[in-house]
Amino acid sequence: MAAIRTFVKNCQIINRNCAVLSPHVQKHGMSQYPSYYIEPVHKKEIQEDLIKSGEIQKLAHLPTKAARNDQSSSFRQDDLVNLFINYVMRNGEKVLARGLVEKAFENIKRIQLEKYHKCDDVEKKAKIELAPRVIFHQAVENCKPILALTPIKRGGVRYQVPVPITPKRSQFLSMKWLIEAAKEKDATMRFHYQLALELIDAANNKGRVVKRKQDLHKQCEANRAYAHYRWS
């Protein structure tokens, strides 16, 4: 009996302590930094802006988190590419993922340069885009869907209802489709080469991914009668 009583008491103590701790734990999760640490400013442009506006004085003596290993002050650093690398990554193999994306960029350059050297017309030559990052940005932009379908149950029937999606979601879908298209290939083809082909196609508004987006839009159009269903 006494044992049970002490146990209950202990539980109460833990509960009470947890109640005090819980907001703290939830706020910072597993972070190794206390809450008053600020995010690092790793971009040179933003740093320069801060210096110009004088705000740097405020930040100078605040405790700051260390920059993550994919955040650098280099001018070739690109947020969207970093995000894409993270989407390509499986099982935390970041080095592999980064290598694949970089190789895809290399392949883009090789393919485009080959076109460039084959082309005799000066005007056409100037139009060929050789920068892999520009092609990548263009490709992601071209593959972004505007609507998506979501299943909604009404009277025991699942309806595919077209709904608008947020910019972030549409960007995610676009990149996900690009990766999926690159994975759908012959066993002899390498992922990075297929990805390069898909990116070039998508940048020219052609190819499988753009088609997939259009198919989704067509389906949305076919199901437009259900558009007024949604949550309620």
């Binding site: 505007i146 609507l147 077209p162 947020t166 259009q214 159009e221 437009r224 949604r230």
Partner: protein
């Protein structure tokens, strides 16, 4: 078997069931927030305009940029509005003359003016 069947037979028992007060017979001092989910439907008109444009241009996006922009703007506006509303409701700010109150707001009111005991 027959005996048990007879036991469960329907019909009015001779004695009326005595009333038991399982929960106290008075209104609670708060309301639950279950019925707060409102309709999420928005931008139906913009969507139909967009579909019409898509259909005329065979699902090419370039000629429909105006419609697309309008649609996206509408949706973002809607998101922002709902977000603001949610925030306001979460904070429980009461504005006089408001017809439709959120559960939070009602709870605040109930806290201030409790039910008759």
């Amino acid at each position: 078997m027959r005996g048990t069947a007879a036991l469960f037979k329907r019909g009015n028992p001779r004695e009326p069931v005595p009333f038991q007060e399982i929960l106290p017979l008075k209104l609670k001092q708060r309301v639950s927030g279950k019925g707060d989910n409102t309709s999420d439907v928005c931008c139906i008109y913009e969507m139909s305009v967009l579909f019409a444009c898509f259909k005329t241009h065979d699902f090419h996006q370039a000629p429909c940029s105006k419609e697309i922009d309008a649609f996206q703007k509408c949706y973002l506006n809607h998101l922002e509005k709902t977000k603001l509303k949610k925030e306001r409701e979460a904070r429980g700010i009461l504005s006089p003359g408001e017809k439709k109150l959120s559960s939070r707001q009602i709870n605040i009111l109930l806290d201030k003016f409790p039910n008759f005991k």
